[in-house]
């Protein structure tokens, strides 16, 4: 619950450098705060405000517009159940009710042990596999009551630790190249774009895309 760490300030500065105007980095930086602290802490937002030359009110004004940002603590796993039209037609409300029973909390609340926060969300764009949900924005489709309970067990047992990072981590793949100036090539490249090692790429072991593919 603090300002950004030194390492995260460096990440923030690299991100800011990608944009013609610093403020564009606001959302990526807020993801960074949330990754560090699990939610948007006041210290974190104030730090972002400093980095971008904004007032903390401007930062919160933007942050509070977006559903993925939380200004209060969230469980290690944020379980987001879609109840929009396609999922509703396929039993989403019943699934949500089941989830409430399994986790013992109503949608919007966090389990007393701080492990799960359950929420009802709008269409997650996995309607071909309705009903669906995400855990920390990692997708699960064709969810049944049983598969939900299995998922909760797996999460509790830490069996999905590799694929589902704790709440707040938006992406585990970082950009490996700095900003490259556009336009016709100048006489000599200032610096050959660095193709550094990809940071912490777990992409390949992440769950398969669940989007309904053509069968």
């Amino acid at each position: 619950m603090a300002r950004l760490s030194k390492e995260n300030v460096e990440r923030a500065e690299r991100t800011i450098a990608l944009y013609p105007h610093a403020r564009s980095a606001l959302i990526p930086l807020l993801h960074l705060v949330q990754e560090q602290d699990g939610h948007l802490t006041n210290d974190g937002m104030e730090h972002v405000a400093e980095l971008l030359g904004l007032t903390p009110a401007e930062v919160l004004g933007t942050a509070s517009f977006y559903d993925m940002f939380f200004t209060h603590p969230v469980g290690t796993y944020l379980v987001s159940v879609c109840t929009n039209i396609a999922c509703m037609l396929n039993g989403a409300y019943e699934l949500l009710e089941h989830a409430e029973q399994t986790l013992g909390v109503k949608a919007g609340a966090t389990t007393p042990d701080g492990t799960f926060t359950l929420e009802e969300v709008e269409c997650l764009a996995l309607c071909g596999n309705a009903p669906c949900l995400t855990v920390n924005w990692r997708f699960f489709g064709d969810v049944t009551d049983d598969s939900f309970d299995g998922l909760v067990d797996d999460l509790r047992a830490g069996r999905l630790a590799d694929t589902i990072p704790p709440h707040g981590t938006h992406a585990r793949v970082a950009r490996s190249v700095g900003l490259v100036a556009a336009g016709p090539a100048k006489a000599a490249p200032a610096k050959k774009p660095r193709a550094a090692a990809v940071v912490d790429n777990k992409g390949d072991s992440a769950p398969e895309p669940r989007s309904g593919e053509r069968k």
Partner: protein, 886 residues
């Protein structure tokens, strides 16, 4: 229509079948309004960027695909455009929008401050649906929460028009309130624990079109239909914002900014807005007081005036008229100042008169340089800031300069020792050591700055620091005065200090911007006498008094003990003067020590005129009566003159004004009729250039009320721009500031009469002889820090301290020093240091400020917690302190 050519930017549009002329670039809503077609609105505000959010102004505008619903506030006019504002379709849509606005709006009008002056309420009556069809539960929020010490928000009433948030960001540059959340949950709020601490926060209350934003001082105090109002000019500082002064039961209840195009655009600073509390204060002086046995006790006016007359006579007869001195007068109206100048310079015969308290500039510099208006800043080739922090001292000028820089893209050059509120907007900063403004500027001019300044720069000129004499900045002004086309905008801050200088409350100056030598004969012709030689300024007066050379010292609303940048000298001066007369509204650190205290009327308790930093003369309105037997200052002067066997020659305020217009050269032509006309609502900048035709048409008797005139002679007040004004006007009884029957005494004819009567041509206005140049202080020794002292908006001044809402805003000071000077001590920014000056030692929180030159220390003047005035020796070219670990 006349056959004059249409202006180049004119386009013709048709609104409801009526052809109207519009200016290219303006929005349909504004063009229609000028033609008398009022399109309902909530989010649109003429002084801010349109956002088209509330949708109340939807009208039909013809496009390539026929008539389409468009927000009139967001569509610019185009030649041949056709607009329909009254069709059934438009009416249906507007009804619908209003109904949408009301679905979640509480029905608490009876207990809402805005009830009775609420645009939402009014438009509901005018356009709205009859019964509510909304049977669902309304949105709920915790009832008012504080956004700051003075502003509350009731989020249930908010209609999300974005006016307050736009104001905070776009106009004030303080984006501390924002929309939070989304959709129907949207609220206006601050970041947790970071209040909306803007000097301009009260404007958001003023422009809120519903009762969502509330001013703590006003909350539940009055209902609009109980209010009366009069138009006036704020004299809290020298900007002179136009203001509607509202009262109820002879108590001031509220000030609202009036949209003056030339000056304040409708805005006020919070100090000005809430300073009416000081006028209402229970601590006001209502009766004369005389010192008996070391105590001030009540007395009668007759006895008090006798005592004053005797003291002055005694001083004159024992040591000559020069042993009488007057300090102060910037609080007064022009007429009061003229009366006091005439009393001092003619009846008593002393030139030891100074309205400035060692914190200003020599009168000949302010009066003798080519002057600029605030509007000139918008079109200047550059603005040079050479003075104090305008955000702290002249807040609404700050808004105008900020706008000039951001919207009009005028380059801003700041010459300063350390950051000010303006630095963020500066294109160029010329850093200078304290008192070396001239040196730094000379170097910068030679180094290319000259080219940046262009052909018509405006220099905003004032005192950057009270811990050094004016010489440094005067020398810098002399350098800039050589630039062809340059003009100067005074940044002297005291309320009517410019009126005081114009009325002769300065040594070596006579009324109407005339030097004593140049004007002596002219004034002798009218007054019978004028001082033989130039007198002393405030510092000189205090030194003379300390030496026992002043018999009677008059403090004209001045408090040198708190307010003169040399506490020790001020105190010695009061101690050394044989008799001290204080004309004041409060007992202050100085008036408390006086032998005689005469209670004076304040702002809103007397009419008159005032002159702002541009030289703009505008009217003051009276709305309440002064406490008990407090008098307007001019009456005190007139009565004193009589006690001294003299006669000021006027019995009324109007009489004074007529004399000013007649004898004070810079004020020629500004007769009372002219000042009261619609065309001159924003005041008149003096001197009026030769050949200018002033509007002398009489205003209708009913029209001596307030409100923005969008176009001379036409247009109504927009009730949604500043809701509180239009509605009160229709309920209240406006005071008539002018007697139309008493007009025409001072026309052009009267002016040539003046020349005939004097037997000589009018004397020329003063020009500054800038041969004399400033000095630069020697370098301080290695361990001393040179003091830079500026003012804060909220300080220990009486107007702040006597206003309960403002007093808590005066904050404990911090000492700012360059980080290296803190490092030297091993103290962290935010840590405490011991501060040592030759006069006193204290501890204070220190903050590192890399914008300060090394070896300087910045402190605020006259704030709670530290006696900075006591660290200043006015006789030194610079003042120093040292800091140590505590």
């Amino acid at each position: 229509m006349s056959d004059t050519a249409t202006p180049p930017d004119a386009v013709t549009i048709t609104v409801d079948g009526k052809q109207i002329e519009a200016h290219k670039g303006e929005m349909v809503i504004a063009a229609a309004e000028r033609a008398g077609i009022y399109i309902p609105r909530f989010c649109y505000h003429p002084r801010m960027r349109p956002v088209g959010m509330c949708r109340m102004c939807l009208v039909q505008i013809k496009g390539p695909r026929g008539f389409q619903l468009q927000p009139a506030c967001y569509v610019p006019v185009a030649d041949g455009q056709e607009v329909v504002t009254t069709s059934p379709e438009v009416k249906k849509v507007q009804d619908g929008i209003l109904e949408f606005l009301l679905v979640n709006h509480p029905l608490d009008c009876p207990v809402c401050d805005k009830g009775g002056e609420c645009p939402l309420q009014d438009q509901t009556f005018a356009y709205g649906p009859g019964e509510t069809r909304f049977v669902e539960e309304k949105r709920h929020w915790e009832k008012p929460i504080a956004l700051s010490d003075v502003v509350l928000i009731d989020r249930e009433r908010c209609i999300q028009c974005d006016r307050c948030t736009r104001f905070a960001d776009e106009v004030a540059g303080d984006p501390l309130i924002e929309f939070m959340s989304r959709g129907a949950k949207t609220e206006v709020n601050t970041f947790p624990d970071q209040p909306f601490a803007s000097y301009f926060s009260g404007n958001t209350v003023q422009i809120c079109p519903v009762g969502a934003l509330l001013a703590k001082p006003y909350r539940f105090r009055a209902r609009p239909w109980d209010l009366e109002q009069v138009e006036s000019t704020c004299t809290q500082c020298a900007v002179g914002c136009r203001v509607a002064v509202q009262s109820s039961n002879d108590d001031l209840t509220r000030y609202l900014g009036i949209d003056s195009d030339a000056v304040n655009h409708g805005w006020l600073c919070d100090k000005g807005r809430f300073s009416y509390e000081a006028v209402n204060s229970d601590d006001r002086l209502g009766r004369p007081l005389v010192k008996r046995g070391g105590e001030l006790v009540q007395t009668t006016w007759a006895d008090a005036l006798d005592a004053a007359g005797e003291a002055i006579s005694a001083a004159v007869s024992s040591a000559g008229s020069g042993s009488v001195a007057v300090i102060g007068g910037a609080r007064l109206a022009n007429e009061d100042q003229y009366a006091w100048a005439k009393l001092a310079k003619c009846v008593i015969g002393t030139d030891n008169v100074d309205a400035q308290l060692g914190d200003g500039l020599p009168a000949e510099v302010v009066l003798g340089l080519p002057r600029a208006t605030i509007d000139d800043c918008d079109t200047a080739s550059a603005i040079v800031l050479l003075g104090p922090d305008v955000k702290e001292e002249l807040p609404v000028l700050y808004l105008r300069l900020r706008r000039a820089a951001l919207e009009k893209k005028v380059p801003l050059v700041e010459v300063a020792s350390g950051r000010t509120g303006m630095t963020r907007y500066a294109t160029t900063v010329v850093p200078c050591l304290p008192s070396d403004q001239a040196g730094a500027l000379r170097k910068a001019l030679a180094g290319g700055l000259r080219d940046q300044l262009g052909g018509n720069p405006v220099v905003v000129l004032g005192r950057p620091s009270l811990a050094e004499p004016a010489d440094g900045v005067v020398a810098a002004a002399a350098l800039l005065a050589d630039i062809p086309g340059v003009r100067f905008l005074s940044a002297l801050r005291r309320g009517n200090v410019h009126g005081a200088l114009d009325m002769g409350l300065a040594p070596g100056i006579l009324p109407g911007r005339v030097a004593l030598d140049a004007g002596r004969d002219w004034f002798t012709a009218f007054w019978g006498s004028a001082p033989e030689s130039g007198g002393l300024d405030t510092r000189g007066i205090l030194e003379a008094a300390a030496d026992g050379r002043i018999g009677t010292l008059v403090l004209l609303g001045a408090d040198p003990v708190s307010d003169f940048p040399d506490r020790d000298l001020a105190q010695r001066g009061l101690d050394g003067a044989r008799f001290v007369i204080a004309v004041d509204a409060f007992l202050t650190a100085s008036s408390r020590q006086a032998d005689l205290v005469l209670p004076a009327a304040m702002f809103a308790e007397r009419p008159g005129t005032t002159t702002n930093l541009e030289g703009r003369v505008s009217r003051l309105g009276q709305k309440v009566t002064a406490p008990e037997v407090a008098w307007p200052d001019w009456m005190i002067a007139a009565e004193l003159a009589a006690r001294l066997g003299g006669d000021l020659g006027f019995l009324s305020l109007d009489g004074i004004w007529d004399e000013i217009v007649r004898v004070a050269p810079a004020y020629a032509g500004i007769n009372r009729t002219t000042l009261g006309t619609r065309g001159h609502r924003d005041g008149i900048v003096v001197p009026v250039p030769e050949g200018t035709v002033l509007d002398t048409e009489m205003p209708p008797a009913t029209d001596v009320t307030v409100g923005q005139e969008r176009d001379a002679g036409e247009g109504e007040i927009d009730p949604v721009e500043t809701p509180g004004i239009a509605s009160v006007e229709s309920h209240g009884v406006p005071v008539q500031a002018h007697d139309p029957a008493a007009a025409e005494t001072a026309g052009p004819a009267a002016e040539s009469d003046a020349e005939a009567a004097a037997g000589r041509p009018r004397p020329a206005l003063i020009e500054w002889d800038r041969a004399a140049s400033g000095t630069t202080a020697a370098k301080p020794d290695a361990y001393a820090l040179r003091l830079v002292v500026g003012r804060k908006l909220y300080d220990n001044g009486v107007n702040v301290q006597m206003s309960p809402s403002l007093a808590p805003l005066a904050k404990q000071p911090v000492l700012r020093v360059h980080p290296s000077d803190l490092d030297r001590l091993g103290v962290k920014s935010g840590g405490v240091v011991r501060l040592r000056s030759p006069q006193l030692t204290t501890t204070i929180t220190a903050e590192a400020d890399p914008t300060l030159p090394r070896g300087t220390a910045a402190l605020p003047f006259n704030v709670p917690g530290i006696e900075v005035a006591a660290m200043i020796d006015a006789s030194k070219p610079a003042n120093e302190i040292a800091i140590e670990t505590p």
